[in-house]
């Protein structure tokens, strides 16, 4: 079957190429600008430099920001895996009264726009003096992260044959041994995939961090946003340089993620709870 033989295919490929060209433009413009000495009203900049990167690094205190981002992301991943995986196991293996309700409760934080629960959450966190600190940012980011781990791990655990656990039991393994010796090794790929997806989501999560971060607890996205708001007094090149740093780190994370998660199998992971 030749693909290029039909007009529908030509139109599709044409539109796709048009989209791609524009995408390259959208990505290329700030990328080029971040290396530009000056760029006004011409096709290309009139000179190139890397000084904007060092300037952005210094001016926005990027080292500090990256450290906070790293701290938040790692804490969120570890806690959400520790809380989420056991829950996912119970959801995958047991039928019990109230399971449907619990499933809906776990689905909502993923489904709802972060603003809708972020504003009341931030209000509560301010009430308990947790907001404005790294702890507050971590807590806020956990709200969608834990359910996300549960939702990705539940189908993963479901596809592990219960007979394997039964077999281990018949071999005399107690519950703790089943978890440590049988389930943990089998779950490693799933946990890795879920962790990386949570990492990507947390690093990219703007709203919740924005609502709960104080000056010392901004992650990279939020500090980027502030740098745009304050762009009037700075060269756009520094903002672009910072955005490029952000995007390249996300790109690295995505490439790692794709090694563990086959994107065309996302559906089984996002399937609604049954």
């Amino acid at each position: 079957m030749r693909i290029a033989a039909r007009p529908g295919a030509w139109i599709t490929w044409g539109l796709l190429i048009f989209f791609m060209i524009n995408l390259v433009g959208v990505v290329g413009a700030p990328l080029l600008n971040s290396f530009a000495v000056q760029w006004f009203d011409t096709w290309l900049p009139n000179g190139y430099t890397t000084s904007w990167y060092t300037e952005a690094w210094r001016e926005f205190d990027l080292l500090e920001v990256l450290l906070v981002t790293f701290q938040v992301a790692v804490a969120v991943v570890v806690i959400s895996v520790l809380v989420g995986v056991p829950t996912a196991y119970a959801l995958a293996r047991r039928q019990f009264p109230g399971k449907k309700l619990l499933n809906v409760l776990f689905l909502l934080p993923i489904l709802m726009p972060p603003m809708t629960y972020g504003i009341p959450l931030a209000t509560v966190l301010y009430k308990f003096h947790l907001a404005g600190s790294v702890t507050g940012v971590i807590v806020a980011n956990l709200v969608p992260a834990v359910p996300f781990v549960i939702m990705t791990m539940t189908p993963f655990i479901e596809q592990i044959d219960t007979k394997i656990e039964s077999a281990a039991r018949m071999c005399g393994a107690k519950t703790s041994a089943i978890f440590l010796r049988i389930l943990a090794p089998l779950l490693v790929p799933g946990i890795l995939a879920a962790s990386i997806l949570v990492l990507v989501r947390t690093v990219g999560m703007f709203e919740l961090t924005f609502l709960t971060a104080g000056p010392d607890s901004e992650t990279l996205v939020v500090s980027l946003f502030y740098s745009v708001s304050a762009a009037g007094i700075r060269a756009t090149q520094t903002v672009d340089a910072m955005a490029v740093i952000y995007t390249s780190s996300m790109l690295v994370l995505l490439v790692i993620a794709l090694r563990f998660v086959n994107p065309t199998q996302l559906v089984t992971r996002l399937k609604e709870p049954s």
Partner: protein, 363 residues
Amino acid sequence: MSTGAARFAELHIDHVQRAFGDTVALRGMDLTIKGGEFIALLGPSGCGKSTALNCLAGLLPLTGGKITMDGKRIDDLPPERRGFGMVFQNYALFPHMSVRRNIGFGLSMRKVGKTELNRRVDEAIKLVQLTEHEHKFPAQLSGGQQQRVAIARAIVLEPPLVLMDEPLSNLDASLRLEMRTEIRRLHQSLGLTTVYVTHDQEEALALADRLVVLRLGEVQQIGSPEDVYAHPTNAYVAGFMGYRNMLRVTVESVDGENAVVTGEGVRLAGVNRESLPSGAAAVAAVRPEDFSLVVPNAASTENTVSAVVEIVEYHGREQAVEARLPSGEQLHVRTNSRLAPGDTVQLRVPVERVLIFAEGSSS
């Protein structure tokens, strides 16, 4: 393995019941298993045989009844404390462990010392002839090899009872025969006590010391293979034991153990298995191979039926024939004689090979 498996004298399954919501999968099962026996639970899917096995293993909680081993109640012990071995239908090998570690897993759970563990694993591996494959992972093995690992994993513990859940159903025909012999050999040489679940009557007859035929959660018959094969208690068991012809008849007269039944154009004498009174609606069950061809115009036509041949299948030494009775019912016959579609044949069946059962107890 030389020591042989731990033995019990008697295991009582006492009125064990298992319901899933409103559907009863197992209805008051009673069975006594003696040490060293090979028991087969036989029946079609949904008859409760796997349920019974899982209850015995402890993987399914009972909803009624109890199980005792030498007088000790075991049905509230978790599976890991009953100490039974189990072979699963899809083998359920641990995919992340090598053959060796799969087999040794149970021993390490029992905190068996390293040298002892290695010795016993070596022995088990040798027993199932997997020495060359001991460092491979389950995914690298063929179905038959995986099956051997599963068996070795169950018997290395020398358990008092080995439970097997249709262990051969995923193998192809020739391998199935080979493994069948293997299982019987292991059972005998190690002195195991085995409960074996299958839907294949041939497998059950070949392996077991005693058969338990189940239907819709109820035990239909318990007996030795010879007993169940030759003397099924009802039409259902008969159907399962290869009595493919079930002619609808009425009991005409009863004479001691025997009875004469009549149907449309059929009049047969047979064994009255369920002591039906005359006038009762009944089925006459006959195996295809119990018919013999009567030479045309023979003097005696006692206990014969006449039928028209419709389809002839060649099966090597014999032929499988489908013929039609005057009533329109189909008749399955196996014969050595050459027949052709359209032939009218006279078929005789010995009185003791016609089993008369109450109507409605089949399938």
